[in-house]
């Protein structure tokens, strides 16, 4: 049995505890505040009003949970992809997974939502199209890199960037040909929102994200050894191809499922791993859980902010995360430049 001490040092255990407490507090805050404030203690005293119960069970509960799941998925996949590519600027957006998922979803909204497919698949149409989009991108990366083997990780990253650009062109074109009502839905979705959360879609997403996170945890030590370089890790007995497949597939499934429900939420995948590294160190046994936890807090709090800042209206949460993330990103670049 592996103990916590074998995975992290004392400082890192401290920070994981702090981040866990932050998750609890941010979740309580996000559930309590909004258009209708809910007193959580009423649940335990049995004095909760029917309105509060309805808000908790069917509106804010799933919404906060979706924000948490998306935050965890973005944070951990950002950390794993940065580790795999040994590139501090990598995130799910960079290898085209997010754009592929977005293209799938946008295609579904523009072409199929009002047609036969829309009737057949109902609310599952956009999520399925989104996961399919991210899987097509992964499939293309797989084919173009001869099964994740060709010419190392940089080659794979470049293929991802090219596919990302192609998918973005597709999204632009579809936006251009969409009608007014589609355009409004698209724009809101492209800016990201947790507003459409419902249990039917949330449960499969939670299952996908949980399985993916468990798989990533299992390879966290090997991900450390990859920091020596792909060739060195191979010489140390690491099956690089298996690690690449695990990380890329886990990220694709997680991000595909999440993007389909929340739209594009920028910067969490990029920024969170850097913050966690600054807190406690770069080893992935700490970085992966740390990034998942911090991702949850930032995502949940950004959603809370976007809900209450201009009540009763709502700011798209993607705007909030980008507003927070972009300046940090700039600071990071300046810091890298100075070093």
């Amino acid at each position: 049995m592996i103990s916590l001490r074998q995975l992290m040092n004392t400082k890192q255990i401290f920070w994981i505890s702090v981040l866990s407490i932050a998750v609890i507090f941010s979740t309580i805050a996000a559930i309590s505040f909004g258009g209708v404030d809910v007193e959580l203690k009423n649940i335990f005293t049995g004095t909760i009003s029917p309105l509060e119960l309805e808000v908790l069970a069917n509106i804010r509960g799933p919404r906060v949970l979706l924000a948490a799941v998306v935050g965890a998925a973005l944070g951990i996949s950002g950390a794993a992809l940065q580790g795999l590519f040994r590139n501090p600027l990598a995130d799910p957006g960079l290898i085209g997974v997010s754009a592929g998922a977005a293209l799938g979803a946008v295609s579904a909204i523009v072409f199929f939502k009002d047609g036969l497919f829309g009737l057949q698949f109902g609310i599952f149409l956009v999520p399925l199209a989104s996961v399919l989009g991210s899987l097509i991108v992964i499939g293309l990366i797989f084919t173009l890199t001869s099964g994740f083997t060709q010419s190392g990780i940089t080659y794979m990253l470049l293929v991802g960037i090219a596919l990302n650009a192609l998918a973005t062109v597709g999204i632009g074109f579809l936006t251009f040909i969409s009608n007014d009502s589609q355009l409004r839905g698209l724009t809101y979705w492209m800016m990201g929102s947790f507003g459409s959360a419902n249990w039917q879609l949330l449960i499969p997403t939670i299952i996908i994200v949980t399985i993916a996170i468990a798989n990533l945890f299992m390879i966290s030590k090997k991900l450390d050894i990859i920091q020596l370089g792909e060739v060195e890790a191979h010489r140390l007995g690491i099956n690089i191809r298996l690690i690449k497949m695990t990380i890329v597939l886990c990220s694709a499934f997680m991000i595909g499922a999440c993007v389909s429900l929340s739209g594009i939420i920028g910067f969490i995948g990029l920024v969170v791993p850097h913050l966690v590294r600054l807190l406690g160190g770069a080893n992935h046994t700490f970085l992966l859980p740390g990034s998942a936890l911090l991702g949850i807090s930032i995502s949940v709090l950004s959603d809370l902010f976007s809900r209450i800042v201009i009540t009763p209206a709502e700011l798209p949460v993607g705007l909030a995360t980008s507003a927070l993330g972009a300046p940090f990103f700039l600071w990071l670049i300046i810091r890298l430049g100075k070093n």
Partner: protein, 257 residues
């Protein structure tokens, strides 16, 4: 018991990089590889490490075809140190050295691993660097740390009971004179304990001092192989390096000016 190269050739897009190379590295022997830039030394090292397979010929680890040796078996059998390495994120020296312990990176036999690491860092005199970030170290210090990682991968306290090898590609390129001698002395000492070593050298005098056997490459072919004093002759060196040199027999020294 040896690492054997049998009639190895490597071509890429019809360009011949290595041609008909045969040699072996035995336990308790330090094989020096020398040759001009671009003669195929590093490619040879990559082949022997198993990074990729040759176009023709067979590489054997103790009579077993390298193709049939699993990645983990290879890692337990031989360690490799490249010319340069670049760590992007902020790992500590401790973590980097631990990564060299196969299956022991922070997990199994923690006490045993810690003891091994303490011994290695003492041997290399890098105790002061142990908790520092690798990125704050100088190029030379980083090279010492990577040597420590390569050494710990196959290191045995007293005697090498089983076949183990270390392959070093210009391990002293960033080091000052004292550190250079230290790394080569340590390697030589391990060889005396039964380790097999293959070292790519830049400096011919160092090669003559440390290597038991030398393989001289020129344009992807073996130009000469044997004892340093036998093959480092003015004629051979002029033919391979295109430079007139003088060779002094006692003490053995090569001069080129």
């Amino acid at each position: 018991m040896s690492v054997a190269f049998k009639n190895i050739s490597l071509s890429y897009k019809e360009k011949v990089i290595l041609e008909d190379i045969s040699f072996c590295i035995s336990r308790g022997e330090l094989l020096g590889i020398v040759g001009p830039n671009g003669s195929g030394k590093t490619t040879l090292m990559k082949l022997v490490a198993g990074d990729f397979m040759p176009s023709k010929g067979v590489i054997k680890y103790d009579d077993k075809d390298l193709k049939r040796v699993s990645l983990l078996e290879r890692a337990k059998y031989r360690s490799v140190m490249s010319q340069s390495q670049n760590i992007i994120f902020d790992f500590t020296v401790k973590e980097i050295i631990q990564m060299g312990v196969i299956g022991g990176y922070g997990l199994k036999n923690e006490k045993e691993v810690a003891k091994k690491i303490q011994h290695i860092i003492k041997l290399l005199d890098i105790e002061k660097l142990f908790f520092r970030s690798i990125q704050t170290l100088s190029g030379g210090e980083q090279q010492l740390v990577h040597f420590a990682r390569a050494l710990i991968q196959i290191w045995e306290m007293s005697h090498y009971e089983t076949s183990k090898y270390i392959f070093l590609d210009e391990p002293t390129s960033n080091l000052d004179l004292k550190q250079e001698v230290k790394i080569l002395d340590i390697t030589k000492n391990e060889v005396k304990k039964g380790l097999g070593a293959m070292v790519i050298f830049h400096d011919l005098n160092l090669t003559a001092h440390y290597a038991d056997k030398v393989l001289m490459l020129s344009k992807g072919k073996i130009a000469a192989m044997g004892n340093p004093s036998d093959i480092f002759t003015p004629d051979t060196l002029e033919a391979v390096y295109g430079l007139k040199v003088k060779v002094l027999k006692k003490p053995f020294r090569i001069f080129h000016f």
